[in-house]
Amino acid sequence: MIVADRKSLEEILSMVETDKKILVVGCKGCVTVCNVGGAKEVEVLASALKIARKKAENELEIDTHVLERQCDNEYVSQLGDTVGDYDAVVSMACGVGPQFLSEMYREQVFYPAVNTTFFGGATQHGVWEERCAGCGTCGIHLFGGICPIARCAKSLLHGPCGGSSNGACEVNKDTECIWDTIVKKKMEQGKVDDLLAVKGFKDWRSARDGGPRRSIREELVEGNI
């Protein structure tokens, strides 16, 4: 899933500084699962903002709503009747959400309440870790099912580098050297020779380097026979 962290209240308060009536809109997708922008977090943010503005004797009226997903126009369109009633809308979805909202409702201002960080999963309750960088050409099977693109600070395909020390990455000693992990796993499996194979150049054009990407499923596109 997409993982995000909520922005500081200070930052969100400054975004809505001049507004009197706002809508905080959450998303039941990824940001609900990573406990940052679902129904609960929407209410908590709304309450915290109201407290801050009451304290400043400049009350802020806040309505809340949670969409099934903010990255699908069929759900985004559900705000059509009400979106114009507010001075601004604060979105708690990943960065995709407020963009879809802005594209559909061109007159309204949408503020992102979260910082979208990575594709990952929960390694324990309350802790999420990056696993994929969306490179567009998955090759984890070459590395024991572990992704060095996302998990090696240098995205090395023939690691580890000389900075690997006792299983820790030189970039940050609290980060595991994923190449250490890959090699250990291959050794355990008795397949360390796999790593001797030289991988060809990685074609980064399928990643962000090739510009914004688009996926088309011909069989789903209306108008296609």
Binding site: L13, K40, V44, A48, A52, K54
Partner: protein, 114 residues
């Protein structure tokens, strides 16, 4: 045992402090309560294993939130006591009322603020 505790403490009963959520504490502050505290069972004695520990983490979250927006975090507290400690219950109520009185009225002028 007839113990008295301050009349300005309003008790809201929950089956377990694990039921108390962040939003409940924030709503109390938002609505103008001068302070709010959670009285849970002693740590290690929760009938639902960890309800009181979860409550403490939620109280800490609310404290951090209040601090971020310039409201005294001491307006929210977590206490632990057993249901057999009636005297301690009254003592805690007094302690909390005293702590909040020192801070003065809430800076959050909500609908039920005096």
């Amino acid at each position: 045992m007839r113990l008295s505790y301050p009349t300005n403490v309003k008790v809201i009963q929950v089956p377990c402090t694990g039921r108390v959520d962040i939003i409940h504490l924030l709503n109390a502050i938002e609505d103008g309560a001068d302070g709010v505290y959670v009285a849970g069972c002693l740590e290690g004695e929760c009938h639902y294993i960890a309800g009181n520990l979860k409550a403490r983490r939620k109280v800490d979250y609310v404290k951090r939130t209040l601090e971020e927006i310039g409201v005294e975090p001491e307006r929210v507290e977590m206490y632990n006591l057993s249901s057999a400690q009636g005297a301690r219950f009254a003592e805690i109520a007094n302690e909390m009322v005293e702590q909040v009185a020192k801070l003065g009225p809430t800076p959050v002028k909500g609908s039920c603020a005096a």
